[in-house]
């Protein structure tokens, strides 16, 4: 009776939520709206702000570096997300169907790189793939088998390749564990009855396992897409977003615009575009999910 009185009383709710809501508004919402306002200006707190209307947005779509950053962000997000989900799911299937109880050790070892600091991993891979006087094991290996050493970081594609290998090695264990938990939820009886009906191997996976693990697969996709769209520290530590701007995502371009070139207005515009992108991607994934569930 007391609880109902407390939660039913609107004033009480306001008072109890008040402090937390205030902190949330001040720390999260106010800066977001302030940044939104800044998109219509150029300048910085020291040099002053100048009103620019929609100039920043026009500039964004005609700026070749911004478009290149946008392209790279999308490229990176798609390739890494697909890689993470495929590898993670493959490993999860391995744990459930092949290794079964012995999977504990493998799961831990594969998961381990996830807890390493991202910058440390990037520096590690920078050394692994180094060329020249202090070449890394990869190029040394190439030379042993008779191939020429490759300057990975001299080209955008080479740097991207190293970034893919690095990120997949680091995060596949996490997705494997996440999807493994989802696969465990599938009741054994369903699998047994499917096997009795003659389904096995790939057909079992395609027609029974995937549809039943769709919810966890979906949340993994959303999680992966959102994280990869906002990549920052790994590409910065690996090759400084280089060579040139070839591996510079929107986050890094925004950071440089605000803090190195001291233009808070244009930087806020880039941040806004990135926010809209993340929002659209999440919306798109949820929409397609809803369609899947109704037809399954």
């Amino acid at each position: 009776m007391h609880v109902k009185n407390v939660l039913g009383d609107k004033k009480a709710i306001l008072i109890l939520l008040g402090p937390a809501l205030l902190v949330y508004t001040l720390v999260k919402l106010v800066p977001v709206f302030w940044s939104l306002g800044l998109t219509f200006f150029t300048g910085n707190p020291l040099g002053g702000f100048e009103f620019n209307g929609v100039g920043n947005f026009v500039r964004f779509f005609t700026d070749p570096q911004a478009m290149s950053a946008l392209g790279f962000t999308l490229k990176y997000a798609i390739v890494i997300s697909v890689g993470q989900i495929l590898l993670g799911y493959g490993l999860a299937l391995l744990y459930v169907f092949v290794l079964k109880n012995a999977s504990n050790f493998i799961r831990t070892v594969v998961f381990f790189p996830t807890i390493l600091p991202t910058v440390a991993v990037a520096l590690l891979f920078k050394s692994l793939f180094a060329v020249g006087d202090q070449q890394g094991p990869v190029n040394a290996g190439f030379q042993i088998i008779g191939l020429e050493s490759v300057d990975w970081f001299a080209t955008g594609d080479g740097t991207f390749t190293v970034a893919i290998i690095m990120e997949l090695w680091r995060s596949m264990g996490f997705f494997a564990v996440l999807l493994y938990a989802g696969l465990l939820d599938i009741p054994d009886e369903t699998l047994e009855s499917a096997r009795l009906d003659g389904a096995s191997g790939w057909r079992l996976v395609r027609h029974i396992v995937i549809p039943l693990s769709l919810p966890v697969l979906l949340s993994s996709v959303v999680f992966s897409a959102n994280n990869t769209l906002k990549v920052f520290d790994t590409v910065l530590a690996l090759n400084n977003g280089g060579p040139g701007g070839e591996t510079t995502p929107l986050t890094l371009y925004m950071y440089r615009t605000v803090f190195s070139y001291s233009d808070y207005g244009y930087g806020s515009t880039i941040a806004f575009v990135l926010t809209i992108m993340c929002f659209l991607v999440t919306l798109f994934i949820f929409r397609s999910a809803r369609r899947d569930n109704t037809t399954a």
């Binding site: 007391h2 009185n5 407390v6 004033k11 009480a12 008072i15 109890l16 008040g18 402090p19 205030l22 902190v23 001040l26 910085n44 707190p45 020291l46 040099g47 500039r59 070749p64 570096q65 180094a130 060329v131 020249g132 006087d133 202090q134 070449q135 050493s149 300057d151 970081f153 001299a154 080209t155 955008g156 090759n239 400084n240 977003g241 280089g242 060579p243 040139g244 701007g245 070839e246 440089r256 615009t257 803090f259 190195s260 070139y261 001291s262 233009d263």
Partner: protein, 446 residues
């Protein structure tokens, strides 16, 4: 029941009010306080310590000021003690913008090149002290070498916005032994230099090494070629709009350096080569030449680092370009990163410190660190190493100096010039595209 509930409600109200009070305090602390900033001027000292902010990567200034604080400037240090902090060179722009907007600039600090120019963020708001006026007032202005004055003023748009704690000439350091072994004479023109590089390349020696990952050592080469072919005012013309980077003479320079890269003269892994590796390559005799500033003296005079020996190292100017309007007697010079004094923090005690520095820094840094600065060497220094003496002579006698490629650029153009050059020398970006990008950045910044 009702009294218990009212009691709980009263407590909740108190919590909310306390929470809002705390939030308000937090906000007011964060908000910038520009109106009530202390009026420093020249009258009173607002600083309680001689706070110094220097780049982490270069310890020359803070080390030397520390020595002065314990020796010639002991009295000044007692009234205003030296307190030294560092910032990463890459974060300087951001840090100074932040400190300036919070009215919390240290007494003496490193600043971004663009920030201290008259149209830069610090210059516009008169936050950086005008050294010329101040030092003339203190009577110590002629402790600054004339060449240093002209270099600093040229670099910072006419403002004497920095003290020449370092005065560096730039040129091509070369390995005399490798030149002798391959029968190569010191080149006087760029074509002769290319011929020399071809000989070295065939002999299996890396013709030229640079810290390619930094970007600026390569853009220095482009700038030098431009100054030699177009003339010493080449970059001023770009700034005033009389010429564009996309003009053929300027693109030719970018092409020349791109060709060095595609010919493989820089050696393997140039774009990821860091400073230590490049220095080691030159100092161990792997590379024949390295374009670098006279700050390399510190490494050259270090017997452990310099494996080829001081007698084996020569210093030549960037050669002439045939038919060009520039001359190899026009040394590229810079006075290091801009070190400004906060005009708000300036007072008599700071003035005393500046006097002591102006009178003693030149000889002190030459004696202790073998570094050539833009200050007069007031006390004779014994045991100056031969290479250092050679550089000191050139500096004292130099009349006309030129700047560097990005000297008059804004922050974004500088950054793009230095990051895109790695694409230029690996053949992934044409010289036309490289200059196009920079010119459009310059146009955008107008």
């Amino acid at each position: 029941m009702s009294t218990a509930f009212v009691g709980r409600r009263k407590r909740a109200i108190v919590t909310v009010i306390a929470g809002m009070g705390a939030a308000t305090l937090l906000l007011s602390a964060c908000a910038s306080d520009s109106g009530s900033g202390s009026e420093g001027g020249g009258g009173t000292d607002t600083a309680t310590a001689f706070s110094l902010l220097t780049p982490a990567e270069n310890s020359i200034v803070r080390d030397e000021l520390g020595v002065l604080a314990g020796d010639q400037c002991v009295a000044e240090d007692e009234t205003l003690p030296l307190e030294s902090e560092t910032v990463a060179q890459a974060d300087v722009n951001q840090k100074i913008t932040l400190l300036a907007s919070q009215d919390a600039l240290p007494v003496m600090f490193v600043a971004g090149t663009a920030q201290v120019k008259p149209d830069g963020d610090l210059g516009k708001n008169d936050l950086a002290l005008d050294y010329e006026a101040t030092l003339k007032e203190l009577g110590v202005w002629d402790n600054i070498l004339p060449a240093a004055v002209s270099t600093v003023k040229a670099a910072y748009g006419g403002n004497m916005a920095s003290l020449p704690f370092q005065y560096n000439l730039e040129g091509i350091w070369y390995n005399k032994q490798i030149f002798a072994d391959n029968d190569v004479e010191v080149p006087e023109t760029y074509d002769e230099l290319l011929d020399a590089y071809e000989v070295f390349d065939k002999a299996g020696v890396t013709p030229i090494t640079e810290p390619g990952s930094q970007g600026w050592p390569i853009t220095r080469l482009i700038g030098n070629y431009i100054f030699r072919s177009v003339g010493p005012d080449a970059m001023e013309k770009i700034k005033s709009g009389d010429a564009k980077l996309t003009d053929p003479e300027y693109v030719e320079a970018a092409q020349a350096i791109a060709d060095l890269g595609t010919a493989g003269y820089f050696g393997e892994g140039i774009t990821s080569r860091d400073t230590d590796t490049a220095y080691a390559q030159f100092l161990s005799g792997e590379a024949a030449t390295m374009y670098m500033g006279s700050w390399l003296l510190a490494n050259l005079n270090n017997e452990e680092e310099n494996k080829i020996g001081e007698e084996n190292v020569g210093f030549m100017p960037f050669p002439n370009v045939e038919g060009g309007a520039g001359d190899s007697s026009q040394w590229p010079a810079n006075a290091g990163a801009a070190t400004a004094v906060s005009s708000k923090a300036y007072g008599p005690k700071v003035g005393d410190w500046l006097t002591c520095i102006a009178e003693n820094y030149g000889s002190s840094v030459l004696a202790n660190q073998g570094v050539v600065s833009g200050f007069k060497v007031n006390e004779d220094v014994a045991d100056v190493k031969p290479l250092t003496a050679e550089i000191q002579t050139i500096v004292t006698d130099a009349s006309e100096t030129v700047l560097w490629f990005e000297a008059l650029f804004d922050a974004k153009t500088t950054s793009d010039a230095q990051t895109n050059v790695s694409l230029l020398i690996t053949g992934q970006m044409t010289a036309d595209d490289y200059m196009n990008q920079l010119q459009s950045d310059l146009d955008q910044a107008q």
